[in-house]
């Protein structure tokens, strides 16, 4: 069994004078989930479409399992499952009929076919809908069927373009679960998303792209430690304005706290390290001071801050 891989070499796409993707070089190899993170318009879909030979690079080339998508889309996509741009299945077909067509075109052996179809439908929890027409399905159901279709031949490489986007919160959670499950097999998953949490929840590695340029690509722990320096930020909400502004200095002096700033008279931003335990200690101490602690925001990692800055700059 060969190692699944995706390689992009100087991959560039221009639309007229506008550069949507600028010399992207990336080499993904082995069984893992790589998050392709970037704000809307960053160039994610453009990249994935070139991988699937739906659009053509202005410059550069990309390879799936060492086979050029540009020179031989058929062989390059043989071991890949692709879901881009929420495609539509012919509405008059049932999932079973559509999957039979996919199996015909992909050459899934007849003996395995029925079993595979039921397996992937079970994987996306759509088995009881196998014989209903796709045209009547909700967006979330269609997306799950699309994911199942991409998995029918048990591909070594899975390419997903924002699989959870556009779904309601429950649909998003379900799709995330499905993707997490995909990792149980030896697969290389390349999934784009504009939601940081989705990537940190599901992926092992993250590549950040903005305005067509790759900003970094590393493992998630490396990225977290590189950018977070172990710090997290919480906002402490107070029931009343802080009477003694000097208190902020006391907060800053607490163990593990790096900085404390008074954002508003009744809101203090605290940057601290030491994880959940430090957060617990911090909260207990602040409460014991009887300064009217009312709420504590979810800690926001430095990665999130950086990503939000990128998004902001992207606007």
């Amino acid at each position: 069994m060969s190692t699944p891989s995706i390689e992009m070499r100087k991959l560039t796409k221009r639309f007229g004078a506008f550069t949507a993707l600028d010399h992207l070089d990336m080499n993904l190899e082995g069984a893992k989930c790589v998050g392709f993170l970037g704000p809307n318009g960053a160039g994610k879909t453009t990249t994935l479409k070139m991988l699937a030979d739906m659009i053509f690079p202005t410059e550069g080339e990309c390879f799936i399992n060492g086979i050029s998508a540009q020179q031989s889309r058929k062989r390059a996509l043989a071991d890949a499952g692709v879901l881009i741009e929420s495609p539509e299945i012919y509405p008059s077909l049932t999932p079973r009929q559509a999957f039979n067509m996919v199996a015909d075109l992909r050459g899934v052996p007849t003996a395995e076919r029925k079993g595979r179809i039921e397996e992937v439908l079970t994987e996306v929890k759509m088995l009881e809908w196998a014989d209903e027409r796709v045209g009547r399905f909700s967006k979330g159901m269609k997306q799950r069927i699309n994911i199942a279709a991409a998995l029918l031949h048990d591909p070594g490489v899975v390419i997903l373009d924002e699989p959870a986007t556009g779904l309601d919160p429950r649909g998003m959670a379900e799709v995330r679960d499905i993707v997490r499950n995909l990792k149980k097999r030896n697969r290389l998953i390349f999934m784009s998303s504009h939601i940081l949490q989705e990537v940190t929840d599901v992926c092992d590695e993250v590549a950040l792209i903005n305005k067509g340029k790759l900003l970094f690509y590393d493992t998630l722990p490396n990225v977290l430690s590189r950018f977070a320096d172990g710090h997290a930020t919480v906002d402490v909400g107070l029931a009343r304005p802080l009477e003694d502004a000097g208190r902020v200095k006391d907060v800053a002096a607490l163990p593990g706290v790096a900085t404390a700033t008074l954002l508003e008279p009744n809101r203090i931003r605290v940057k601290f390290s030491g994880g959940v335990e430090a957060q617990e200690r911090l909260l207990e101490t602040l409460v014991s001071w009887h300064i009217g602690v009312k709420s504590l925001s979810e800690p926001e990692s430095a990665l999130e801050e950086i990503y939000l800055q990128q998004v902001a700059r992207g606007d």
């Binding site: 479409k49 058929k74 390059a76 996509l77 043989a78 890949a80 741009e85 299945i89 075109l105």
Partner: protein, 289 residues
């Protein structure tokens, strides 16, 4: 994960795609509508012919001979039915894949672009053929009613073949238009306008203004479908030229051309080949963006 080695050949993928697409066509509302249209045309014609059969049996009438009958009825409506079938099944064959986003599903699969194009073409061709078959059946039933055992002139065979070649040409052009635009409606409209009016207009213009044989116009070539029922068939590559003088002193003359059967076949095949090559090349460069 050894999927690479097990991929079906492009030939077999074309077959699978055709099979699936054909099934899709046959179960579509469009197919039903077209069957309805052809049955309606058949019903009206049958009724009219039956109602006036006494007069029509007179000299030169539609029922005067089986050749006259097939020349007018079968060949007369065939052009319209071919164009309707091409528009119904081919008008949005490619554009619809963009518009309905079904193309993104197909393009995620390990198939060549040409496979998609050819597979869909053959399916549309098959669906159109079945409609032509329906028309033939209706006409034959009428023929049997009026001519008894003499209802099958051999000329029907070359006429059917010519009709099929015409279908190939129209469908080739329709697919070309359909891949030229990403909006389905353009393909429908362009095919319908060109083949229902455009080419006959062009043919008249060439004939009237340039005064040469309009060999480059497909509607001219398709005339062969009905011409084979004439008493003298020109099987050749050169047209039959007829000059009629108007007025007693032979001042003005009108020249008319009838394509040779081989000539008609070659012109129609040229339309088919050129439009298919152009459509395929276009689709190879088409971006699903």
């Amino acid at each position: 994960m050894a999927a690479v080695a097990e991929l079906p050949s492009s030939m077999s993928q074309i077959f699978q795609l055709t099979k699936n697409q054909y099934r899709e066509y046959l179960s579509s509302r469009r197919y039903l509508a077209l069957v309805g249209i052809v049955v309606a045309i058949g019903a009206i014609l049958s009724f009219v012919v039956y109602h006036y059969h006494d007069t029509l049996q007179g000299p030169g009438g539609l029922l005067s001979s089986n050749l006259a009958f097939y020349g007018s009825v079968w060949a007369g409506a065939l052009g319209l039915i071919v164009v309707l079938a091409a528009v119904f099944f081919g008008g949005d064959a490619i554009a619809g894949e963009f518009q309905n986003k079904t193309g993104y599903f197909l393009m995620g699969l390990p198939i060549r672009r040409a496979t998609v194009y050819v597979g869909k073409w053959i399916a549309a061709f098959g669906a159109s053929l079945s409609i032509l078959g329906l028309w033939l059946a209706i006409v034959l039933l009428n023929g049997a009613a009026y001519f008894g055992t003499d209802f099958l002139p051999w000329q029907l065979v070359p006429s059917i073949i010519l009709g099929i070649v015409y279908l190939m040409a129209v469908l080739g052009a329709t697919f070309l238009f359909s891949s030229l635009f990403k909006t389905s409606a353009y393909g429908f409209v362009l095919t319908a306008i060109l083949f229902l009016f455009g080419f006959t207009l062009l043919q008249d213009l060439v004939l009237g203004l340039v005064k040469i044989e309009p060999w480059m116009v497909i509607s001219y070539a398709s005339g062969a479908i009905g011409d084979v029922f004439a008493t003298n068939i020109n099987w050749g590559l050169a047209a039959t030229v007829t000059t009629v003088s108007l007025g007693p002193r032979g001042g003005a003359t009108i020249t008319s051309y009838t394509p040779g059967v081989a000539e008609g076949v070659i012109i129609m095949l040229a339309y088919f080949v050129l439009s298919s090559v152009a459509g395929l090349l276009l689709f190879e460069r088409e971006e699903f963006s």
